[in-house]
Assembly symmetry: C2
Homo-oligomer: 342 residues x 2
Amino acid sequence: MSAQVPTLKEIAKRLNISVSAVSRALHNHPSIGLRTSARVHQLAAELNYEPNQVALSFKRSKTSMIGVILPNLNHDFFASIVSAIEDVAYRKNYTLLLGQSRDEEDREKRLVESMKSHRVDGVLVSIAKNTANYAHFDLLKKMNIPVVFFDRIPRMPDIHYIASELESGMEAAVRFLVKKKHRNIGMINGPDSLLASKERLEGYMHALQKLRIKIDLSSVVSSNLSREGNQQAMQEILDMKRRPTAIITFNDYVAMDAIKYAKKAGIKINEDISFVSFANEPICNYMDHPPMASVEQFPYQQGEKATELLLQLLEGDEKTRTSNNFHKILLPPQLVIHEAQA
Amino acid sequence: MSAQVPTLKEIAKRLNISVSAVSRALHNHPSIGLRTSARVHQLAAELNYEPNQVALSFKRSKTSMIGVILPNLNHDFFASIVSAIEDVAYRKNYTLLLGQSRDEEDREKRLVESMKSHRVDGVLVSIAKNTANYAHFDLLKKMNIPVVFFDRIPRMPDIHYIASELESGMEAAVRFLVKKKHRNIGMINGPDSLLASKERLEGYMHALQKLRIKIDLSSVVSSNLSREGNQQAMQEILDMKRRPTAIITFNDYVAMDAIKYAKKAGIKINEDISFVSFANEPICNYMDHPPMASVEQFPYQQGEKATELLLQLLEGDEKTRTSNNFHKILLPPQLVIHEAQA
DNA sequence: CTGTTAGCGCCTTCAC
DNA sequence: GTGAAGGCGCTAACAG
């Protein structure tokens, strides 16, 4: 006999008044009698009445839920982004429906389906590394569900997104190494399918070009970002006849795998080969041999901006939402130099 | 003029049949004519019709959403748990409503409120480190929303939970160190408010007692688990007149802070002072001086079990849900010895 | 001041 | 085989 979840109807019945009177009383509608109002409020409190958000969502066709789809949570980078999203969303009374694609296009698709059928008000997405088909995102548009992409952006026209200005981050990385007298700078990039890989490569080439250093694309290798892929990439570099004296890696995890692997091969980190990476993950602080520097991408700020943009789209009128004014925000990253370890 | 989201009504109107006919057709109800059924299916596909999950939730008073409340996502431990929850939930078509308490009781409370009003079908919770008042969880019970706690369990009677058998994990840690000839084993524990701290301490004492080693509680210090707290705790240990030769830490993050701090103080890790910790976070693999061993707590399995239990409660009948049969599952942890680093 | 009504999308019972 | 009606909880327009 567990007490049923209280409803307006229940309160109305007990008080012998109409449902709408109860509703109005609880909303402190001016036209409700003081006595009635008080009685309603009291009983509501007694019963722990709480508006049924599902009914409200249904009625208003607005769920106050934001869908978040990202590759995974195991990197501090994404965890920070989620924190930011949550913080901003929460202030505006939105809740998070979360899903990890695990970098699988199928899962990503299913997640989009799920979010769509749950009628989230908007979606924040960082795409899976191999997603090539973007039809599932178009469906969201058709449903009038705004989408803001962050960090990993699809190569689609007409989208809103927030990401790091990777090219300039890369240029800073290259400049840093060149200033340290490196002239043969290798790179472990991510998979070609990611826009982010392309941008890094372009930054790399531009920077070298500007500095009038010969570009040797044979010292650029790709990894699929798995541990094995990273190790293999490092091996490729070690095998080069003209081995680079510095390596820029796609991110800190790649750097960590590469560094560990290189160490085993007898390389002195940041002496024989210097490393610079992206993301500036907090764990770098715990390594004895972290990369010399890492390009900080400010995930929290990225998450904030993305959410703010999405909420703005949500709260704007139909015009705003469906206009052809697409926001493409690039945040400047910042090269952070790690203090030498003891 | 963006196409409105299609509904049964819309399809019915276009086909000049009734809403219920459409509904039945889409569910392949046998009593619907073949022709009609085909026409309905076709139009539905054309319009990208998709049942409105909100309406369904409303009607069925079941949202197919599971609430997940945990302190944060920045530890791989919790990220893995979320992955497990998501995997299990997804198989049964449940979606995740996620919130981080950031170890603040207030936020935790607000999250519970939010989940409650969104009428999640059930909730998985790992409590904030300072949560002392559990009234908000009682409210869930009153709403007939089952709760399963994981990892961080409140000191409440009559709850379902899954956690690691920390005592035995701690005993394994102590035995390991004693076998390595340590007789003066210190400990950096977590805050007293956590049950997990209490259990570690008990395991510590039991183990020493069994091994007939004198217990010296002055070599046990507490940290609030912040970086500063961890450093301070390490300092306290370094200051001891009878400085321990080994330290067991609350988890790997504490260990990492302590190790880094000790290194700066000139301590040789795992020589002057040996470390053993809990959680066995993957980043240990990247450290030059990880703790000698870490108590693996199998977060993924914990998440799986917790979710399976919750779903079982959800799918059971009212009897199951409200019975006084509370599941208290303890998973045996396992001491993992880290290979010596190169 | 308060009650009645209608409707959001869907399913289900009952009627034809 | 198909349609009509009712109801899940809530709000808002319209009547009194």
